[in-house]
Structure formats: C-alpha cells, structure tokens
Symmetry: C2
C-alpha cells in the first residue's frame, strides 16, 4: 500500500463544515430577513408586493419602458413582471400602450395615480434603507455593493457552467 504524507486529508473524516459559517447560507439568510422586512412595509403601507414595487421603481425613474426593459432593469423573469404589471394596471397605477415599433410589445409608464403613489413611496423607501444601513458604516455600504455585484456575476457564471442548457 502506497504511503502518502500524513495529513488530515488521509483520514476518513471530511473537513468539518459549519452551516452557520457557509457563505451561500449566510447570504441567503440575510437577504431573506431583509426582503421579509421590506415586503411587510411595502404591503402594509402601500399595498404593493416586492415585484410590484420594483416595477414602480424603475418606471418612476422617468422614462417609459418596454416590458423587456423592465425585465432587464428589475432582474425578474418575464412571468413575474407580467403578473406584476397586470396587477399594477388593475390598480390603475401603470398604463400599458402598444409599442409603436413592435405590435407584440408594450410600452409601460406610471399612470397619474402611480406617479402620486411613487412620490409617496420614494421618501419612505429612502428612510427604510437608511434604517437598514445603520447596521453598516458608509464605507462598508460602498464595499458591500461592490462585493454583492461580484458575487452575483460569479454565481451566474457558476450556474451557466453546468446544466445551463436545460
């Protein structure tokens, strides 16, 4: 039997894995807590789900957007966006118009009521974010933003590498 350099690797025991220290777990738990808190506020104060709020947010930035642009800007899939837009249209917060250059597509924009609600939400959203951000220093916030973006890209690459083409 060949002899290798003695090391912990030689034993049958795997190196320990503490779930509580595991990065994907920690990100998921933190994100879920934050989403829960914000979802509860948006629902209680404005009657909006998070997907609905995201659509409002990107349309509130000013320019009318195609559904595809909203999908890209909110990082949500087309079904989620479709359903959020349907609900927002039912509430008369968003209008859907035919796209002038493509009859399959739509142009979305905030309806007057939507603009009014948007103006009410924005300061509240800023305040809530500020409350959350009290957990961090301003430098940490900047650093966190960069890290999250890098993690997102790396994770997308990881996903794409294996069974990507289902």
């Amino acid at each position: 039997m060949r002899r290798f350099k003695r090391s912990i690797i030689d034993t049958n025991e795997p190196p320990p894995l503490r779930l509580s220290k595991f990065l994907p777990y920690r990100i998921s738990v933190a994100a879920e807590s934050v989403s829960r808190a914000f979802a509860a506020r948006y629902e209680a104060e404005f009657g909006l789900s998070i997907p609905e709020w995201r659509v409002m947010a990107v349309l509130g930035e000013g320019a009318p957007l195609s559904t595809q642009a909203v999908i890209a800007a909110t990082e949500m899939d087309r079904v989620k966006v479709s359903r959020a837009v349907i609900r927002l249209a039912d509430k008369e917060l968003v209008t859907r118009a035919p796209h002038p250059e493509d009859q399959r597509a739509q142009v979305l924009r905030l309806a007057p009521q939507g603009e009014a609600l948007y103006r009410r939400i924005v300061p509240r959203a800023h305040a809530l974010q500020a409350e959350l951000a009290e957990a961090l220093t301003p430098e940490e916030i900047v650093l966190l933003g960069g890290m999250l973006e890098r993690l997102r890209r790396r994770a997308s690459r990881l996903l794409g590498e294996d069974g990507g083409a289902g």
Copy 2:
C-alpha cells in the same frame, strides 16, 4: 418666505431613487443568483434541495438534533424543516426517533446512507464555496460575514417593530 440654502430638496421632486443602487434590491438579487447556482449543483449532483441540504448539513456536524434544534440551526420555518425531514427519511438519509423526554418531539440523525452522502457532499460544498469566494479577497469574506449578520439582525428588528404580531 424663509429662504433656505438652495438645494434639490426644495423642489417638489422627490430625491431620485435608482433601483439598481438600492441596498435591499442588491442583496436580494445577489442572494438569488447564489442560491440558484448552488441549488442547481446540489440537485444535479446529489438530488437534494437546499432545505434538504441544510438539514443534512447540521445533522452532519455530529450530534443528533431535535427538530426544534434543526429549525434553529437552519433558520428555516417548521413547515420547511418538516417537509425536508420527511423527504430525507423517505430517501433513508435521515432517521427519526422518538424524543426520550418528550413524546411530541423527535430526535433526528443521519442514517448510514446519509452519512455516506454527507461525506461526499462536504468536499464538494467546500469547493463550490471556494469558487464563489474567488470573487472576493479573504479579508472581504470576513468583513462580508460580519456585515450580513448585522443586516440580518437589523432587518429582524425592522420587521418586529411594525405588524410583527400578526
């Protein structure tokens, strides 16, 4: 009319809100990307969902645990844990025994097949985490862990403050 230092605040327009810069949004998007990537791997390579993997992970740390201990250790709700345990028991990866001091409760531990699978998963999980962590420096990883924990606590407080008692 009193005159304030001229600033954008004086106008009727709310301060702009860019969704893409919004902290809760960025955390959510990053976490979703990471979860998706890891869920795909666990499913493809081991046939486990993330809730199932989490239960395996905490039981694999060694000691048998009550269901309540698993709920606490995995930060999942009791329904999610219950279902994950049922599936793991069906696959004969986990055993359920009556709790010696409380007939309502159970003691969970890895079955022999579960231990074998656990030993296969651990190095893979470490490798996947390492691949993800390549997006960050070692110092950033430590800092990120602390920030996520502080955000989680702050978010829990935010949630508890309003409609907490539903």
